[in-house]
């Protein structure tokens, strides 16, 4: 509707000067000043307008009113005496009054739709004949009514909009057209040929899956069809299906190119480690996360407020991020207001969490019996008598012979998680806004561990003049992590999976019998409150005299402050003494203590854009240039007191003795500047060229080493546009071949490694009986004045398309990357006696290659069933090409790290277990010819290793096997822990208000190593799980565990392939089943939409590691186990 008339601004001095004011403001903002903008506020009610028009056509007058009021005006040319000349003057008059004046004489009537900000003008004179009258309802595919849908008769101004129930009623002359166009923001436009008297139910499909889809890119956006870079995107509506607190848990398996691993389940620490295209460096391999154009963390966001997540994968996509882009970029955009009816939504769920997997531990009787057997095997008398065993078995004396289930005794298998979100959205063409309020509560396995998060988002977009758009984004969150003071989640899991069942948790009279209980519930608290406030102001100014050119300025100020408070109390539990009395035992500090910390981080980011987008015939150009500066500052301080006489958890209440007080603090600054460009040229939508790059500077490095240029280029060829495809293969809707090559960077190491410097800190104590701590100065690691960033050269070739009218979509990318200048310590070049860390040098090289595949299908069956499925597969395998490696491993092909994937696992190659026939008749001497382990004597049932090599010979190469098992026999025994393959299958089915979606996700080419408690029964006094009863005995020769001993012998604890387990897994990551209440019922309730759902996360897991989660966080399983979640919830639209 909005027509831009060049030259009009010159005719209208008022609006031109307004435009200039905003241009000025935008530039002022670029320089870091924050001015109050003089934007005029629009009220929701009747608008007042001022205008003076003399001798203009009525159509012209209406278009001026349209512009001034922000209302769309719909009318039929037939009704409107368009050429009628009108005069009108109004000063701050109500819109209705102005329209009255203007239309009264023309015999026209009008109706104002305030909700949708539209005015429909029609003839007051009914023309009974030659009229088409249609009515009906517009809904989305889910049957939700769509309010504010524009309905226009094709090629006319005649039309109407739908009301709150999605209903419409339209009359128009039959001689104009019989095609009616239904259009709505975010949905595919539909044209329908109609007949008089027809009742219609029009269903509009969301536009997201179409080729018109616009992809958010580095600093701009581009239509998918004209994209030449490798990117993938996920809609926010996908992410909210998972009932989890953290967005990162929802990404794995959703799109190709993301490889993820979740190694912890603790509230607030359960985020997945996300790698885009695997791990490409030995340094920091984390991708850059950018939220609404500003680099920041996304862990605090409410998944409900996310519009899209875009993954930038190849050089063409990441080049604009310069030295931060080489590990890939995760771009997140949050929701914004849409033109249309005001909507108000509530989304909430409530769920329960429990560990995904837990070993089945032996009970007290089984444990004690097995322990006796271990003792006997070790040639020692049994520890427990038959009578004691009986007591454990019958449970008659639980205080002395308990049978404690530590898992169920401590862990809550129904830990609640809940999230509630209220969102508001709406606006006119001129002013759109979005608001979101969120609340999350996630309880841990014990109630003192929990996470609370409050989110608030406001996004306002205002078109303050014809050419100026101002956007204000405010996004805040408060996250509070609570934990007991004396114990954390990882330790709780360590305790409950370790403490044998023969010890009591509580005595029969209720007194705590173990420190664990009181440490959880009575030891005080450890709280962390993270307050984030991110604000951003963006002003975009179109340059009126150069069509397609715009300037944009953005200034973002992100602040977060973290308050930490730990209040630690002494705790008491009880133990039985020799006289069977319960005596108190104190644990924790002798008196209460408090420590508090405060950290304030702030970042100021300014971006100045120049944007140009225009088509000339078959040529289309989309270009932008940006200058960006980032400045950051961190300050922190901490204070604490000990020896509290009163239990009042305030610093001031603590001991006044200066020796009982402590404090500390530090501050740091950071800075980065960059100039970047993106240039895309398309010829006839067929041949596409992209150029992008960034000239980047960073404070980490020495003057002279600070700046570097990271360019990339890409090409695309839309094959489907070629006649030889179009004419011969009509089933190909879209087919594009694209390729890219470029250089990007990665910031590694630490700031100021170029400086010779000394550190300063708390140090030794002098003074004897009146000790005083003094400060100390120490030399920092050797400086390297020429240190700089890592460089990544990335190549990508991709083919993507859709076939059979969208029934099948596919995308395949083959890529490789060479990362050089990785920071490594050239330890091998200085002796161990050197005495200080030698400076890191930019010398490491790693290659990384892989493939991303995705397939999608959308099916719609006659019976109303809709089925969508998406499969994706990502494979990434790196290889260390150059690093500093010891001669002893480098010269031995078995042990060489170079040339293998980073973090490949090395150890001895286990051949199984020794059997009795491996020994002489004495049972202790290995038969001649068998290699002798150097880890002490072995017996039948111990692990037998392969003798692969002897010590290095004079040439440095290993000699032939020497009959001794030692470090020389080390070899590659397993893939890295981090998976090299991730795949996902995402399916959605919907039918008559029911919808079901499933995400199956799996990982592969990863190896898990088990150690200590997870390998050996009774390790360091730990308990035993069911699988460990499959130990070697002369009868059980092919056991999965070595012979049973009370403590493992050194031979068996060597890192070896015996303890490497395949980390391949498949899991039902997310499942959601929903039901939407039919409209008929809703209308009576005056609701827009109501949907109930049940959903779950990590519901099923299949892996070879039967008793633990395959994403094992630690070889000893000493970590907070991953959780599975069952939840139910509701989405309501008002």
């Amino acid at each position: 509707m909005k027509k831009f008339i060049p030259g009009k601004l010159f005719a209208c001095p008022g609006s031109f000067s307004k435009a200039l004011i905003f241009m000025k403001i935008s530039f002022v903002l670029l320089f870091g000043f924050c001015l109050q903008t003089a934007a005029k506020g629009y009220s929701q009610g009747d608008v007042k307008i001022t205008l003076e028009l003399n001798g203009v056509k009525l159509s012209k007058a209406l278009s001026v009113i349209e512009e001034k009021s922000g209302y769309r005006i719909l009318y039929s040319n037939d009704d409107l005496p368009a050429s009628r000349i009108v005069h009108i003057q109004a000063r701050e008059e109500l819109l209705s009054a102005v329209l009255d004046k203007l239309l009264a004489h023309a015999n026209l009537q009008y109706k104002i739709f305030d909700n949708t900000r539209a005015i429909v003008i029609s003839s007051a004179v009914q023309k009974p004949d030659a009229v088409i009258h249609i009515s009906g309802k517009v809904t989305d595919v889910g049957g939700n009514p769509l309010a504010g849908v524009t309905i226009k008769v094709k090629d006319t101004q005649l039309g109407t909009v739908t009301d709150a129930q999605g209903a419409f009623d339209l009359r128009f002359p039959d001689d104009v057209s019989s095609v009616v166009v239904f259009s709505y923001v975010g949905f595919q436009t539909r044209e329908i040929k109609v007949k008089d008297g027809q009742k219609l139910h029009v269903v509009l499909e969301q536009a997201a899956s179409g080729l018109d889809e616009v992809i958010v890119l580095g600093y701009g956006r581009q239509k998918k069809v004209s994209l030449t870079a490798a990117v993938a995107s996920i809609g926010g509506n996908e992410l909210v299906k998972a009932p989890v607190a953290n967005i990162s848990n929802t990404l794995g398996g959703r799109v190709a190119g993301i490889i993820s691993r979740q190694a912890n389940g603790a509230p607030g620490e359960d985020n997945d480690r996300i790698q885009i295209r695997g791990i490409g460096t030995t340094g920091n391999s984390a991708p850059l996360v950018v939220v609404n154009g500003i680099p920041m963390s996304y862990n605090q966001l409410n998944p409900n407020e996310i519009e899209t997540v875009t993954i930038l994968k190849d050089a063409a996509a990441v080049a604009p991020y310069g030295l931060a882009g080489a590990n890939g970029v995760i771009l997140i955009t949050t929701k914004r207001g849409k033109e249309g009816k005001f909507t108000f939504n509530y989304d909430g769920f409530y769920g329960f969490q429990r560990p995904t997997n837990m070993p089945d531990f032996l009970n007290a009787y089984e444990y004690a019996s097995m322990y006796n057997q271990a003792q006997i095997n070790d040639g020692k008398p049994p520890t427990f008598t038959e009578e004691q065993l009986q007591r454990f078995k019958d449970g008659t004396d639980p205080d002395h012979y308990p049978n404690t289930d530590w898992i169920r005794g401590i862990l809550n298998y129904k830990a609640p998680i809940t999230r509630h979100t209220l969102s508001f959205s709406g606006g006119t063409q001129k002013l759109r806004f979005y608001g979101n309020l969120g609340y999350l509560y996630q309880e841990g396995v014990v109630s003192p561990i929990n996470l609370k998060r409050y989110n608030m988002t406001i996004a306002v977009d205002a078109e303050v003049t014809n050419t100026t758009t101002v956007s204000i984004d405010i996004n805040g969150s408060v996250t509070q992590n609570n934990a007991p003071a004396a114990i954390g989640g990882d330790d709780i899991f360590t305790n409950v999976t370790e403490i044998p069942p023969i010890y009591p948790l509580k005595f029969s009279n209720g007194l705590p019998a173990h420190a664990l209980w009181v440490n959880i519930y009575e030891s005080g608290y450890n709280r962390n409150r993270n307050n984030m406030l991110n604000s951003k102001l963006t002003i975009e100014q179109k340059i009126p005299f150069i069509p397609g050119l715009a300037l944009k300025g953005a200034i973002a100020y992100n602040k977060n402050y973290v308050l930490g408070k730990t209040w630690t109390l002494p705790v008491t539990f009880y133990a039985l003494n020799a006289d069977d009395e319960m005596v108190p035992t104190q644990s924790g500090p002798p008196a209460p203590r408090l420590s508090q910390s405060f950290q304030d981080n702030q970042r100021l980011i300014t971006q100045a854009y120049i944007l140009y987008e225009r088509s000339f015939g078959k040529h289309s150009i989309n270009a932008l240039g940006v200058m960006e500066t980032q400045k950051g500052q961190t300050q922190q301080f901490s204070a604490g007191r000990i020896n509290y006489a009163v239990e009042l958890d305030e610093l001031n209440s603590g001991s006044s003795n200066k020796e009982d007080m402590e404090n500390g603090g530090v501050s740091r600054n950071s800075a980065q500047v960059g100039w970047l460009y993106q240039l895309n040229y398309g010829f006839a939508n067929k041949y596409l060229v992209g150029l992008s790059g960034r000239y980047d500077g960073h404070y980490y490095f020495a003057p002279g080493e600070r700046y570097a240029f990271f360019p990339a280029f890409s090409l695309g060829w839309n094959l489907a546009e070629e006649h030889f495809i179009k004419n011969n293969y009509p089933w190909i809707d879209y087919l594009k071949l694209r390729g890219s090559y470029g250089i990007s960077g990665n910031l590694a190491g630490d700031p100021f490694q170029y400086l010779v410097s000394y550190g300063l800190g708390d140090s030794y104590i002098f003074g004897g009986t009146s000790p005083q701590q003094v400060q100390g100065i120490f030399e920092n690691a050797q400086a390297n004045p020429s240190i700089t960033w890592e460089t990544a050269k990335k190549t990508n070739i991709g083919l993507e398309g859709t076939l059979w009218r969208g029934k099948l979509g596919f995308s395949v990318d083959v890529w490789r990357e060479s990362r050089s200048d990785m920071l490594i310590k050239p330890e091998a070049v200085v002796p161990e006696e050197y005495g200080i860390e030698v400076s890191e040098v930019n010398a490491g090289i790693m290659h990384n290659r892989g493939i991303d595949v995705s397939l999608t299908t959308a099916q719609r069956f006659a019976n109303g069933i809709r089925f969508n499925a998406a499969f994706n597969f990502s494979f990434a395998r790196n290889k260390v090409i150059q690093t500093f490696e010891n001669a002893s491993t480098f010269n031995n092909p078995n042990r060489r790290r170079t040339g293998r994937p980073w973090n490949s696992q090395f150890g001895l190659l286990a051949l199984g277990l020794y059997q009795e026939e491996d020994f002489e008749a004495d049972g202790v001497t290995l038969k001649p010819g068998l290699p002798v382990p150097s880890y002490g004597p072995v017996r039948p049932g111990d692990i037998k290793y392969a003798d692969l090599a002897g010590p290095a010979g004079p040439d440095g190469k290993p000699t032939a096997p020497d009959g001794i098992i030692n470090a020389n026999d080390e070899t590659f025994i397993g893939d890295p822990l981090f998976p090299q393959i991730i795949f996902g299958l995402n399916m959605d089915v919907s039918w008559k208000g029911f919808d079901l979606s499933m995400l199956w996700q799996g990982g592969g080419k990863a190896a898990v190593r088990l150690a200590s408690e997870m390998a050996f029964p009774f390790f360091n006094g730990a308990k035993v799980f069911r699988e460990q009863t499959d130990f070697w005995t002369p009868e059980n020769r092919n056991a999965s565990y070595p012979r049973l001993l009370p403590a493992p012998i050194s031979n068996n604890t060597q890192t070896s392939s015996f303890w490497i387990k395949d980390g391949t897994y498949l899991r039902l990551k997310t499942l959601e089943l929903g039901y939407t209440i039919p409209d008929a019922i809703l209308q009576q309730m005056h609701m827009r939409s109501v949907r109930f759902f049940v959903s779950g996360q990590n519901l099923l897991t299949f892996s070879k590691l039967k008793f633990l989660d395959p994403e094992l966080g630690n070889p000893r399983a000493r970590y907070y186990f991953q959780q599975k979640i069952f939840s139910f919830g509701v989405n309501v639209g008002f």
Partner: protein
């Protein structure tokens, strides 16, 4: 026009952005700041002191050999047995004799000590040219030379000769000269002697007030005397220790503290017997030996019993008549073996029925709810005894309570000077009266009768060895003693014992049981293997014999 103007501003803004990246870090100091002032240079010296630790390993962390870890050096001798903690070095590597260059007993120590040596070298180089007062410099330099010698001695005691590096290595300037071969053991001892002499010359006799804890003349000589003794340089060792006795002993600076039991506790820190000690302070720099070594109060935590005295050690304690059971003491009663022992026994050992933290500790079998019952595995002490000496009974044994343990750890005390002298003098000249005097004064403080007169040199040698074992039990000295006396092969040829006590018919029955067997290979184990990482990175280093 306006637009052009604005674009010009952007460009000019961009041009000055190099300045935006100029950030001066505020958490570190430059070379000039550190070395132009005696005050700041002294802070560097403080840091070197801060790198001192009790015992060879440089951390209090668990499972690494250190004087204050859960695997103290006495676990590598017949004095104590490791506790029920899996993965500790003594149990895992030492007992099977399976340590080698790739997995050694003191693995990171080689590099750690050279880190500290570099600090000393850097300090000495920088201070030599520094523009501050020469008198200040002299004392600072003397301390740094002492500390460097101390770190070298840590290496030499374990590895024999090591590369003597006395300058700051710089790979950018020195090229291949940063690779040093090992110096001979003789050269290393000679170096220590020179360094200690130099330090002795410039160090004060005593520090006072807030400087207590710094190196003194006495510390320099004690270091030298011990090095000479360990090296078997008997005459020199005798002379050096004699010099301490003559110049500083007998109350001039040092004397025996009257109460052996109280000698090691916080309220008596820096008493007249202490020559050099590592400083700790409650809540600031703490140890965890109460937790590590403590009696097992709970099934898990609250004392780990990680270094329990062996019955072999207990047998070595004399009765009040100055004789052990083996020597036919009249006070020995097999039914009451812990009665009438010498004072040091009661100061050092927690035994069945003895009082600890105001309550009896039982290690015998059959006491209900007892976590201290002798155990062959799992948690609980292995030997039937626990360490009492060095543990502060006023502090609990949980991890949090251990923060209160700020008692200094004594490196050398006057009793050692006396016994060092006695040993060296006896070896060099035989058991003259000065030898008797030195040993007897130590015995007298413990309330024990004087040695019988007329001992042969060999008999005196055995008496001195016995005296050292008892006097310095759990102080980390015996490991070096059994190595330098070359008696480890003999000691470890026999099993090590604990004491199992049972009540039968109302009588306690004492039953000596085998708890531990150590495989010791005299062809290599008297010296530690140099870590393979060091050998790999410096081709000039030659490994100690028979490792590989």
């Amino acid at each position: 026009m306006r637009l052009l103007f604005l674009i010009a501003i952007i460009v000019s803004f961009a041009a000055c952005s190099e300045k935006n990246l100029e950030i001066v870090p505020r958490d570190r100091l430059s070379d000039a700041t550190v070395w132009n002032d005696a005050k700041t240079a002294n802070l560097f010296l403080n840091d070197i002191y801060n790198n001192l630790n009790a015992g060879p390993f440089v951390t209090t962390f668990t499972n690494q050999p250190s004087e204050i870890s859960n695997d103290p050096l006495d676990n590598f001798t017949d004095n104590t047995c490791y506790g029920p903690v899996a993965g500790i070095t003594s149990a895992k590597l030492f007992d099977p004799g399976s340590y080698g260059p790739s997995e050694s007993l003191f693995h990171p120590m080689w590099g750690n000590m050279y880190d500290r040596i570099r600090k000393c070298n850097l300090f000495l180089e920088k201070v030599a040219d520094a523009p501050f007062d020469e008198a200040d410099k002299k004392v600072m330099i003397a301390q740094a030379r002492f500390l460097r010698a101390y770190f070298y001695k840590m290496l030499i005691d374990l590895y024999g000769g090591v590369p003597l590096i006395t300058k700051v290595l710089n790979n950018n300037v020195d090229g291949d000269d940063i690779f040093y071969p090992r110096n001979s053991y003789e050269e290393c001892i000679a170096f220590l002697q020179t360094e200690c002499e130099a330090a002795y010359a410039d160090l004060p006799l005593k520090w006072t007030g807030k400087d207590v804890g710094r190196a003194t003349k006495g510390a320099a000589l004690a270091l030298k005397g011990e090095a000479e003794l360990y090296a078997g340089k008997w005459e020199q060792a005798a002379a050096t220790n004699k010099k301490i006795i003559d110049e500083m002993g007998n109350g001039i600076v040092y004397d025996l503290f009257p109460d052996y039991a109280g000698l090691f506790y916080a309220n008596n820190e820096n008493n007249e017997e202490v020559i050099f000690d590592i400083q700790f302070a409650p809540n600031i720099k703490t140890k965890r030996i109460n937790q590590y070594w403590g009696v097992v109060e709970l099934p898990k935590g609250g004392g780990w019993g990680a270094a329990c005295p062996t019955h072999d050690l207990v047998e070595e304690y004399e009765f009040i008549d100055g004789k052990t059971a083996a020597e036919g003491s009249a006070y020995y009663d097999p039914a009451k073996p812990y009665e009438n022992r010498e004072k040091r026994f009661y100061a050092s050992i927690i035994y069945d029925g003895s009082i600890w933290r105001a309550a009896p500790v039982y290690t015998r079998l059959g006491i209900p709810n007892n976590n201290n019952e002798i155990r062959q595995g799992g948690n609980g002490g292995r030997t039937g005894y626990f360490i009492k000496k060095l543990q502060d009974s006023t502090i609990g044994s949980t991890a949090a309570q251990a923060e209160l343990d700020g008692t200094n750890v004594i490196v050398w005390r006057y009793a050692e000077v006396l016994l060092n002298y006695a040993e060296a003098q006896n070896e060099a000249f035989g058991p003259d009266q000065s030898v008797y005097d030195a040993v007897n004064s130590v015995r007298a403080r413990a309330g024990q009768p004087a040695l019988p007169t007329g001992l042969s040199k060999e008999e005196m040698r055995q008496k001195i060895r016995h005296e050292r074992r008892i006097e310095f039990a759990f102080e980390g000295k015996r490991f070096y003693d059994i190595m330098r006396w070359r008696i480890a092969e003999e000691i470890f040829s026999k099993p090590i014992h604990g004491m199992e006590i049972k009540e039968e018919n109302g009588q306690l029955v004492y039953n000596k049981i085998v708890i531990r067997n150590v495989h010791f290979d005299p062809s290599k184990h008297y010296l530690q293997p140099i870590p393979q990482v060091a050998i790999d990175r410096n081709s000039k280093l030659v490994q100690n014999p028979n490792y590989n």
